[in-house]
C-alpha cells in the first residue's frame, strides 16, 4: 500500500516536472521572440548604392526609410534590401519627398525631389525637416518659415529674440528663445500658447531655453531652461492652449546647449548636453542622470565626449549619437530603451527607424536591422 502511494507520488512529481519544463520552454520562447525578430541585420555599402534619382515619384516603394549620415544621405527599401544613396558636401535635410543640401552661408540651397530634376531654392536660412514638415530657420536665427516641397513659403514669422530650441509635430511647432520665452504655434503659425519673458520683473534672471521636445501626438511638451537651477518643465495640452503640469530640477554642470526628444510612446524624454545624458520619466515625473559607465562606455580617458539625441526609434527607444573628440573623432550610436542601452553601434553616425526596420548609418554604408518593433 505504502509502495503504491510512493509510486503515485513519483509519477506526480515526474508529471509536474514535465509540465514545468514545457511551460519553461514555452515562456522562454515567448521571451526571446523579439530577439529572434531582430536577428536579421544586413549591411549595404555605399559603394553598391543606387542613385536616388531612380526612385519613381509616382511609385515610391512603401517601405522606403530616409536617412541622413555624415556625407551620405538617401533611402532604404527595407523590403527589397535596396540602398539608394547620394553624397552631400556640407549640410542637408531629408524627408520622404526628397532633400535639400546647403552650405554654411545658407545661400546655395539645392532641392532634390524624388522623381524630379534638382532645383535651386531661394532662401536665406537653414532647412530643418520634422514630422513631414519642412521649415527654414532664418540665417540670423530670428525667424522661421514653413515651406512646401517646391520651396515656396507657406508662412513666415519673425521673433524679437534668437531661437535657441525647436521641435515640431504634424500639428504643433514649439520654439524656445534666448530670453526664456516659449511659443507654440499651430499648423498655420497662429499662436497656440506663448510665455513671454517679463522684462520688467525678471531682467537679471534670464532663463534661456536650451531644449524643447513635443510628444508625437502634440499633447505634451517638455522645456529645458535656466542655469541655477536648470529645470525641465512639462506642459500638457488644455483646450486650445497648454498648461504647465510639472517641473523637475536637473543636475547642473552641463554645457548650455541641448538636444532632446520624446520617446514615441510618450513615456519619457532623453536630454543630451555635452557629456551629460539625462532620462526624464514624464509619467512619474522623475529624472535620472544616466551613469557615465553605462552611457559612455569605452570612452577614452581625456577625450571630450558630446552626446546628441538623434530621435525616437519606435516604442520606448531613443537613438543617441556619442562623439569623442579624439584625433580622429570617433562616433557611436546608442539605442536607449527607457534610458538603458539596448544596442551600441561603434562607428555609426546616425540612426532612423520605420516600417519595422532600424537603420544604422555608418560612414561607409548602412545596416538594416529587420523586425525592429519596440
Amino acid at each position: 500500500m505504502h509502495h503504491r502511494n510512493e509510486m503515485k507520488k513519483r509519477r506526480f512529481h515526474i508529471f509536474a516536472f514535465i509540465v514545468a519544463a514545457v511551460l519553461f520552454v514555452l515562456l522562454s520562447v515567448r521571451g526571446t521572440k523579439k530577439q529572434e525578430q531582430i536577428s536579421e541585420a544586413i549591411f549595404l555599402p555605399f559603394s553598391s548604392a543606387l542613385d536616388p534619382a531612380s526612385i519613381s515619384r509616382q511609385n515610391p516603394s512603401p517601405s522606403l526609410i530616409s536617412f541622413l549620415g555624415d556625407g551620405y544621405l538617401g533611402y532604404i527599401d527595407s523590403a527589397n534590401n535596396q540602398l539608394y544613396a547620394a553624397q552631400f558636401s556640407d549640410r542637408a535635410a531629408i524627408d520622404s519627398s526628397g532633400w535639400i543640401s546647403y552650405d554654411r552661408l545658407a545661400t546655395a540651397l539645392q532641392a532634390f525631389s524624388l522623381g524630379s530634376k534638382p532645383s535651386t531654392i531661394a532662401g536665406y536660412g537653414y532647412p530643418w525637416f520634422k514630422s513631414s514638415r519642412r521649415f527654414l530657420i532664418r540665417a540670423d536665427q530670428m525667424g522661421i518659415a514653413e515651406m512646401h516641397t517646391d520651396g515656396s513659403i507657406v508662412w513666415e514669422r519673425e521673433f524679437p529674440m534668437p531661437i535657441t530650441a525647436i521641435d515640431a509635430t504634424p500639428t504643433t511647432l514649439g520654439i524656445g528663445f534666448l530670453d526664456g520665452s516659449i511659443r507654440f504655434l499651430e499648423k498655420k503659425a497662429q499662436n497656440l500658447y506663448s510665455e513671454p519673458h517679463d522684462s520688467q520683473q525678471d531682467s537679471q534672471h534670464i532663463r534661456t531655453v536650451y531644449g524643447i521636445a513635443l510628444s508625437g501626438d502634440g499633447r505634451y511638451t517638455a522645456v529645458l531652461r535656466g542655469i541655477s537651477p536648470q529645470k525641465i518643465e512639462s506642459y500638457r495640452r488644455a483646450g486650445t492652449g497648454f498648461v504647465k503640469s510639472s517641473e523637475r530640477e536637473l543636475p547642473s554642470g552641463a554645457p548650455l546647449q541641448a538636444t532632446m526628444c520624446y520617446a514615441e510612446d510618450g513615456s519619457h524624454v532623453v536630454i543630451a548636453q555635452g557629456e551629460q545624458l539625462i532620462y526624464y520619466n514624464t509619467k512619474k515625473n522623475y529624472v535620472r542622470k544616466l551613469a557615465n559607465g553605462a552611457a559612455s562606455s569605452n570612452v577614452a580617458s581625456g577625450a571630450f565626449v558630446q552626446h546628441f539625441v538623434l530621435g525616437p526609434t519606435g516604442g520606448n527607444t531613443i537613438a543617441v549619437l556619442q562623439v569623442q573628440s579624439q584625433n580622429p573623432p570617433t562616433t557611436k550610436v546608442l539605442i536607449l530603451k527607457h534610458g538603458i542601452i539596448e544596442r551600441e553601434e561603434p562607428g555609426a553616425v546616425s540612426a532612423s527607424a520605420g516600417k519595422g526596420a532600424l537603420i544604422i548609418v555608418f560612414r561607409d554604408g548602412v545596416e538594416i536591422v529587420k523586425g525592429w518593433q519596440q
Partner: protein, 322 residues
C-alpha cells in the same frame, strides 16, 4: 575733427539713451570691415530668385553688426555671465543652428551680448552651466571667427540687447575706434501717395531738375530713402546710414535713426515702422522713414542722411503741390 564729433555723439548717446550701458565697459573689437546695424541682410537678387517664393526670407535690416578683424581670435567684449553657448555639430547628421558657434553673455543692468560665427573654444563651451563658474572676464579668448549663417568666412557677429527696455542696441556706438571721413550716399528718395499706392512714386533724385518744381497732388506721402554708407574706408561692405532727417520748408518733419530696434511680439521694429522688421524696407531696398502731409502750394524738401561720425549728405527738391 570728425573723430571728435564721433566721440561727442557717442557720449551724448550713452548719456541720453543708453543710460548705464557705459558702466559695463563694452569693447567692440577693432575691425577691418563692417556691415552695420540696419543693413539689409540678403540682397534682393539672392532672396527672390524663384518665382514661387512669395516672401523673401532675409530681406530684413540686420539687428547686429558683422565684423572682420585683423586676427581671427575673438575676445569677450565685456565681463558677465554666460547664459547660452551654441556650437556646431561635429557631424552633419545632427542639425546645427545657423549662427554657428555662439556665446550669449548677461552683463550688469540686464544687457545681453551675443557673439556669433565662431569656432567656439571647448573651454568656453564646457565651463557654462556650472553655477558661478560660468562667468567670463572681458578679454578672454572665446574662439576663432570662421563665419556661419549671415557671416561670410572669417567674419563674426555682435549683437547687444537691452532686456529691461526690450531694445536691440546698435553696437556701433561702442566702437570708439571708428574713423569715418566719407559721407553716406543718397541713392534716391521716393514719395508715395498714401491714397494712390498703385501709382508710380515720385523720385526726388532723378526727377528734380535744378530750379524747377516737381508737381504732385495734395496728400500724405510716405517717404522712403535708399542710402548706403561705407563705415571703414576701402572696405568691401556697405552699411545702412545712421540717421535720416526730412526737413519740409525748413522745419523737421521726420527724424529717425538706427540707434536701436524695438522688440515687439511680431518681431523687431526699425525706424518706427511696425514689426516685423521687413516692414521697414520697400521691395527696392529703400528704407521707410515716415510720412509727410503736403498741402497745396510750393514747398522745399530737404533730405539729410548722416553716418556715425556725423558726415552728412543732403538732397534738396522743390515741390509744387496741386
Amino acid at each position: 575733427m570728425k573723430s571728435t564729433k564721433l566721440i561727442a555723439i557717442c557720449f551724448l548717446f550713452s548719456v541720453a539713451f543708453l543710460g548705464p550701458l557705459g558702466a559695463i565697459d563694452f569693447q567692440v573689437p577693432a575691425a577691418t570691415d563692417i556691415a552695420g546695424f540696419g543693413t539689409i541682410l540678403a540682397t534682393q537678387g539672392s532672396s527672390n530668385a524663384k518665382e514661387l517664393q512669395k516672401t523673401k526670407p532675409g530681406f530684413v535690416p540686420r539687428s547686429d553688426i558683422a565684423l572682420k578683424t585683423e586676427y581671427p581670435e575673438i575676445k569677450a567684449p565685456s565681463s558677465g555671465t554666460v547664459i547660452y553657448s551654441q556650437r556646431e555639430s561635429p557631424v552633419a547628421s545632427v542639425f546645427s543652428f545657423p549662427l554657428g558657434g555662439t556665446v550669449a553673455i548677461l552683463h550688469p543692468e540686464s544687457y545681453i551680448s551675443l557673439v556669433s560665427g565662431l569656432a567656439l573654444d571647448t573651454v568656453i563651451f564646457n565651463q557654462a552651466g556650472k553655477g558661478q563658474e560660468n562667468s567670463v572676464k572681458k578679454g578672454i579668448s572665446m574662439g576663432q571667427a570662421i563665419g556661419s549663417g549671415i557671416y561670410p568666412e572669417r567674419y563674426f557677429g555682435l549683437r547687444l540687447i537691452d532686456i529691461k527696455n526690450s531694445l536691440w542696441i546698435n553696437p556701433l556706438f561702442l566702437a570708439s575706434w571708428l574713423q569715418d571721413r566719407t559721407a553716406p550716399v543718397i541713392q534716391n528718395v521716393w514719395l508715395t501717395n498714401e491714397n494712390m499706392r498703385g501709382n508710380t512714386p515720385i523720385e526726388l533724385k532723378t526727377t528734380a531738375p535744378k530750379g524747377k518744381y516737381i508737381e504732385c497732388q495734395q496728400a500724405t506721402y510716405e517717404v522712403s530713402v535708399a542710402a548706403i554708407d561705407s563705415i571703414i574706408p576701402g572696405s568691401r561692405s556697405f552699411s545702412a546710414p545712421y540717421k535720416i532727417v526730412i526737413m519740409l520748408d525748413g522745419k523737421t518733419s521726420i527724424d529717425t535713426s538706427f540707434i536701436a530696434a524695438t522688440c515687439k511680439s511680431e518681431g523687431l521694429s526699425f525706424l518706427g515702422n511696425p514689426a516685423p522688421s521687413s516692414k521697414a524696407i520697400l521691395e527696392n531696398g529703400a528704407y521707410r522713414v515716415g510720412r509727410i502731409p503736403l498741402q497745396r502750394g510750393q514747398h522745399e524738401i530737404e533730405v539729410q542722411v548722416s553716418d556715425y561720425a556725423g558726415n552728412q549728405s543732403i538732397l534738396k527738391a522743390s515741390l509744387m503741390v496741386n
